[in-house]
């Protein structure tokens, strides 16, 4: 990032330089503000055409030439890894390498066997092929999953093909915006998206919304005057992808595609390195552990086997067996499925996850840097307070307020409501009678809209009231006189007086008044009432609200008869001695779900930092009302005010909250920012620029925090990319932001983030369970090999059978654990520490491998020994039987009873043993699955039947096992046989033992939190 930042600025600087050159070389106004590309253009042979009259435009041939030279006017998509590389990556990632090694060893082993003995069995070839298939299939699966989640996003970037009205060959044409070239003359009007960077040649009342680029939410007027050296500041440039709000303009395209300002920002964002997600790190860690165990045990036993005088070939085959037993083949696929299940669940809760791994990142988030507007607030002005009769009344600001509950009986209110209704130019778009009032579309600015909706809710049909009080004259609001005025006939037919209503900046309104209405009665405006007014005004202003004053005057019927013609320019009506009626304040209120969500975040140990471009007072007010600054915490300034001392004298330790403005931030060093970030639990950044957002994010990341950032503008995209998880707004967000983000909030609602955090934490816990479940049986798969090598019993579990456990019976159950509900309130925990709270920690590995794993092995061995004993080979006979057992020409091997067995009869028995061992593991994996539902709570607290999917998992285990044993028992290559039904129950006592053992473990953890037991047995 650090390297890239200057680039964008340098572009601007260069641009400015170029402009100067341009000015010197050519003093025609037209060329002011053009940048390097245009300069270039001017220098080359297209000059004449550019200088020609606007209405001529480029000729199609020239346009085609330029198009061929510059390429289409579209942002080049971020460089994508070719699909084949992505696919190959899946083929070699994770455990795949180990399995490939296994497969190749298999084939080599067969090669050696074959060269010695042409009739050697094909078992190794099967195994090698199966292993390769496993790798390829899981690879394809992972690739498919990834592609699917990428596709979700692809739909986002697919914009509606934009059209541009361009003048070519002296004709107005509508062409796709992609085909615009430098030098084209385009026309835009209100509502259009600007199709490229253009310099305005002609503008009429043109205003643009540059918020996606600069973060300024106020509409920016555009004209053809060159006002500033900086292209971002000058008024005669319209930027690609911004919107023209009103007016019309004609401009010349000066930059297209990636060379536009937005293109630079987009490339800047793609330059910010994507850091590895926490879960990816965790999974890598886990793969390392498992691969380490697999390789070290494999090599160890390879050496043991060789030194025990086994043939090297056999030892290689053991090695393969050990690798296969150790590698949880199905696990990575399971993790992917689990993540995508959660992603789906989150999508239902309005969090669309773009990158599957981000699902978990959100769960480990420890700092959220949130926007204010739209995310924390409703993004619409709403009436919050009223002041009349010397009293402040609160208005309901929730999203769907039907009723206003303040006292409406006063006569003052009657007057005030009349002013609010009449002195307002905003109107509902027609045809929305069925839409709830708060959701109706209004023509008019934000404040007027708020007032219109407010009066509609309180009074009913506003339009009807306005009709009855016919408007005869009006002065709309403007920034010089700061008031709005209208004169109406009243709806009282007996009253022939005109009513003049006025609203505006409170102090301006008050100036014009000589009386004030209290309880419906006009009273002279004296010193004390004026003071009351100022107190109220300051109080409401202090809340960060926009305050308006209202006054009226009934014009006497004598002076202003019904036929009187009002002239708004001459102002032939009184403008003083009016009657002040009241104040009304508005704010963009917080979403009602946000305070709750912030509280949740706080109890979840997540710090919420507000980063806004808004005014500090407003920012602080909103922060207070949503709880980012909690009710009882104060800033340094608050303390100073309370104690009536200078800010410098305040002990900074006492202040819990701080409001940092962009100006202050600018002067801060990294260390100072770090200090602010660490020493204050409640922070608001106000008046910050988008670039500063990036600085804040980097500051947070220096604290080892996992940072989530919300944003919507194009300028937010570097910060979104930099953040551990970037969250773009689905409604207000720009495409660039959505592209840079890992997640999209479909409803722009902060509360949805909290839901996401919850899901993310849950998935982390559940992944732990899944992994613990999967690792357990690895020991039960590994032990047979070790016992086989050391004790010399016939092989208890075949390699292919292992694959059937890993990729057959165990798949659905381990996915089912993803549906497990949280054990306790996961939102009452601190976020996990990136480096300390690992997905796979020592207790998990030890408990899974050595406790449950060994118990499970014993249980499975029991089934194995039972089968052999009941067929004639008692355990004592089996010891060291291996060599004779496996000799192909020994066809009269004696069992414990003196019976003699042929090789094939033994082989079949061996397969029965595999099947028995397999069933043994399967039965105990059911117990394992049930105990893994919880890590701390008793199963009975969690509820055995709450997670129905677990039972689907168990059913799938049993059904797959039944099919394998009874359905495919006759296929030689699979090494399954039909097992006697009673053997299915041999391991059941062991399954119960596992359950009881784990219940005891959990009981002790609950009884003695913090003890040795808790530390070593809680994973």
């Amino acid at each position: 990032m650090g390297q890239k930042t200057p680039q964008i600025y340098s572009v601007e600087l260069n641009g400015a330089k170029d402009m100067k050159q341009t000015d010197k070389g050519d003093d025609k106004d037209k060329y002011r503000g053009l940048w390097s590309t245009c300069l270039e253009l001017r220098k080359n042979h297209h000059k004449e055409h550019v200088t020609k009259e606007i209405d001529l435009g480029l000729s199609s041939t020239q346009a085609a030439e330029l198009l061929a030279r510059d390429g289409p006017n579209a942002l080049s998509p971020p460089q994508e890894t070719p699909e084949i590389i992505k696919f190959l990556k899946q083929m070699v990632g994770g455990f795949s390498i180990l399995l490939w090694v296994g497969a190749i060893l298999c084939w080599i082993a067969y090669g050696i066997q074959f060269s010695n003995d042409k009739s050697s069995s094909l078992d190794n070839v099967y195994l090698g092929t199966v292993l390769a298939l496993v790798v390829i299939l899981t690879g394809i699966f992972a690739y498919y999953q990834e592609a699917k989640s990428t596709n979700i996003m692809a739909s986002f970037s697919k914009m509606i093909p934009q059209q541009a009205l361009v003048i070519r060959d002296s004709e107005k044409k509508i062409i796709p915006a992609e085909q615009l070239v430098v030098g084209d003359i385009v026309e835009i009007k209100g509502g259009d998206q600007i199709p490229a960077d253009i310099r305005l040649l002609f503008a009429q009342g043109c205003k643009v919304d540059n918020s996606s680029l600069t973060g300024e939410s106020e509409p920016q007027p555009r004209s053809c005057e060159f006002t500033h050296d900086n292209p971002l500041e000058t008024k005669n440039i319209g930027f690609y992808s911004t919107t023209c709000l009103e007016g019309t303009a004609t401009g010349m395209v000066i930059n297209t595609g990636d060379r536009t300002i937005i293109g630079h920002i987009a490339s800047l964002a793609s330059g910010v390195g994507n850091e590895k997600t926490p879960i990816a790190t965790e999974i890598e860690h886990f793969v390392h552990i498992v691969a380490g165990v697999a390789i070290s045990i494999g090599v160890l036993f390879f050496i043991i086997a060789v030194s025990m005088k086994y043939r090297v070939l056999d030892s290689i085959i053991f090695l393969i067996g050990i690798i296969v037993a150790n590698v949880p083949e199905g696990l990575l696929a399971t993790v992917t499925v689990t993540l995508s299940l959660t992603a789906k669940r989150m999508a239902k809760k309005n969090c669309l996850v773009k990158n599957l791994e981000a699902v978990e990142t959100l769960g480990s988030t420890s700092i959220i840097c949130s926007d204010k507007t739209g995310t924390l607030t409703q993004n619409r002005m709403t009436v919050a307070h009223l002041w009349f009769d010397n009293q402040i009344f609160m208005a309901d600001t929730s999203e769907d307020h039907f009723k206003q509950t303040f006292d409406q009986s006063s006569g003052t209110w009657a007057s005030l409501s009349k002013i609010i209704t009449l002195c307002n130019r905003a109107e509902f778009r027609p045809g929305q009678e069925r839409v709830p009032i708060m959701k109706r579309v209004v023509v008019g600015d934000a404040s007027e809209t708020a007032l219109l909706k407010f009066s509609e809710v309180v009074l009913g049909d506003v339009m009807e009231i306005r009709k009855r009080n016919h408007k005869v004259a009006e002065i709309p609001f403007n920034s010089t006189n700061k008031f709005q005025l209208s004169i109406h006939k009243t709806d009282d037919p007996t009253d022939k007086r005109f009513l003049m209503v006025m609203k505006g900046a409170p102090e301006k309104i008050l100036e014009k008044c000589s009386t004030i209405m209290v309880n419906g009665q006009e009273q002279p405006l004296d010193q004390s009432t004026a003071e009351a007014f100022y107190t109220a005004y300051m109080e409401l202003g202090g809340l960060g609200e926009r305050v308006l004053g209202f006054c009226h005057l009934y014009l006497s019927a004598d002076e202003f008869p019904e036929t009187y013609s009002f002239d708004v320019d001459a102002m032939n009506f009184p403008m003083s001695n009016l009657c002040f009626v009241g104040l009304l304040s508005m704010i963009d209120p917080p979403r009602s779900t946000v305070p709750d969500a912030i509280t949740k975040c706080r109890s979840a140990g997540i710090k919420v930092i507000m980063v806004t471009g808004d005014h500090p007072i407003t920012a602080k007010a909103i922060a207070k009302s949503v709880g980012i600054i909690s009710a009882n915490s104060e800033t340094v300034e608050d303390i100073a005010k309370r104690l009536n001392i200078a800010v410098e004298q305040v002990n900074k330790q006492d202040a819990k909250a701080v409001v940092v403005t962009g100006m202050e931030l600018k002067d801060m060093s990294e260390d100072q920012l770090d200090e602010v970030l660490t020493s204050y639990p409640e922070i608001v950044f106000a008046r910050t620029s988008p670039q500063q957002k990036l600085i804040i994010v980097e500051g947070c990341q220096r604290q080892d925090a996992v940072v989530a950032v919300t944003g919507d503008g194009v300028n937010d995209s570097p910060a979104l990319k930099k953040a551990d998880i970037g969250i773009a707004m689905g409604i207000a967000g720009s495409d660039a932001a959505k592209n840079a983000a890992d997640m999209v909030l479909l409803d722009d609602n902060f509360a949805s983030i909290v839901t996401g955090v919850e899901e993310g934490r849950l998935i982390f816990d559940n992944l732990k369970k899944t992994i613990a479940y999967t690792l357990t049986k690895n020991i039960a798969e590994l032990c047979p090999f070790l016992i086989y090598i050391i004790v010399g019993v016939p092989l208890p579990l075949g390699t292919i059978t292992i694959l059937f456990i890993d990729l057959g019976t165990d798949i659905v159950p381990s996915i089912a654990l993803a549906y497990e509900k949280a054990e306790s309130d996961i939102m009452n925990r601190k976020p996990r520490h990136k480096k300390k709270d690992r997905l796979v920690n020592k207790p998990l590995a030890v408990y899974s491998y050595l406790h449950i794993g060994l118990m499970q092995s014993l249980g499975a061995f029991l089934v194995y020994f039972t089968v052999y004993a009941q067929e004639g080979f008692r355990p004592s006979t089996l010891i060291n039987l291996r060599v004779e057992w496996e000799k192909d020409f020994v066809n009269n091997l004696e069992d414990s009873y003196g019976q003699e067995w042929t090789r094939y009869q033994r082989k079949y028995l061996e397969w029965t043993g595999y099947t028995a061992f397999f069933i043994g593991i399967m039965i105990q994996q059911i117990a394992d699955l049930i105990i893994r539902k919880t890590r701390k709570n008793s199963i009975f607290q969690q509820g055995l039947f709450r997670n129905k999917v677990i039972w689907v998992g168990i059913a799938s285990q049993i059904i797959i096992a039944l099919i394998l044993s009874y359905g495919l028992g006759s296929i030689t290559a699979l090494n399954f046989t039909m097992l006697r039904p009673q053997y299915w129950f041999v391991a059941v006592p062991h399954a119960f033992l596992i359950w009881v053992y784990d219940e005891v473990r959990k009981l002790f953890i609950r009884l003695y939190p913090g003890s040795w037991w808790d530390k070593n047995m809680y994973y």
Partner: protein, 237 residues
């Protein structure tokens, strides 16, 4: 827990008969001398090459000595099973029938200067049927062992042979087998095949099978069910 369940499991296993014998429905055949890969190679001129076979056979046939048999085992009525049912009381140990070494005739190796024919290139190969507890081989009908060359050229190279007892018969009286523990001195019946004029210096694939009503010999997968295939090679200079 494991010990406990193992113990419980072992209680279910009887001492004298295995619980299940489903895998042993068809007893396998096997040859003596037992060699690697069932290759019987005889270098006539090299006494050491066949000497080891002879030693093995000597040892193998020792319990069949008439004196031993007479001392330990009963003379049974041929042609019928020698059943010794428990009838509620454990009938233990069970008696076995005599199979005298002399029954093997020229292959008995008794007073045989040719060492079972190995020194002359007319080797004896002994065929025995795997023991299976409570198996009534032949289902009350007589059974015998026959040998053939596996392919046509093998048959030509194999030449003629004689069998002892005559026709390769196995008598019913040696069945059923009651298990190592009960049937302490059980003597497995044998069939000896003496190959008289095997074409020297070629490998001959020989297949012997038992012809009995209740022994299938056509199992595709188990090449030793009711039959045995071995290679015979007589090297003469």
């Amino acid at each position: 827990m494991f010990t406990l369940t193992m113990w419980v499991m072992l209680q279910t296993v009887s001492d004298h008969t295995p619980k299940y014998q489903d895998r042993l429905a068809t007893p396998g055949l096997m040859i003596r001398p037992k060699t690697e890969n069932l290759d019987v190679v005889v270098n006539v001129s090299d006494a050491e090459s066949w000497g080891q076979h002879v030693q093995k056979l000597n040892k193998f046939l020792e319990p069949y000595n008439d004196s031993v048999q007479a001392q330990k085992n009963d003379v049974c009525r041929p042609g019928r099973y020698y059943e010794q049912p428990d009838n509620g009381v454990l009938n233990y140990p069970k008696r076995a029938c005599q199979f005298n070494r002399t029954q093997l005739g020229d292959c008995s190796g008794l007073g045989d200067p040719t060492h079972y024919g190995y020194s002359t290139g007319q080797p004896c190969v002994f065929i025995k049927m795997n023991r299976v507890i409570n198996f009534y081989a032949g289902a009350n009908q007589s059974m015998n062992v026959t040998c053939v060359g596996k392919r046509e050229e093998d048959a030509e190279n194999l030449g003629s042979f004689v069998m002892f007892p005559a026709h390769g018969n196995i008598d019913l009286m040696y069945f059923p087998y009651y298990g190592k523990k009960f049937h302490v001195n059980y003597t497995q019946p044998l069939v000896a095949v003496k190959f008289l004029n095997v074409t020297p210096n070629v490998e001959v694939n020989v297949e012997c099978r038992i012809n009995a009503v209740n022994i299938a010999t056509d199992d595709e997968r188990d090449k030793f069910a009711g039959r045995v295939a071995f290679k015979l090679r007589i090297n003469k200079t």
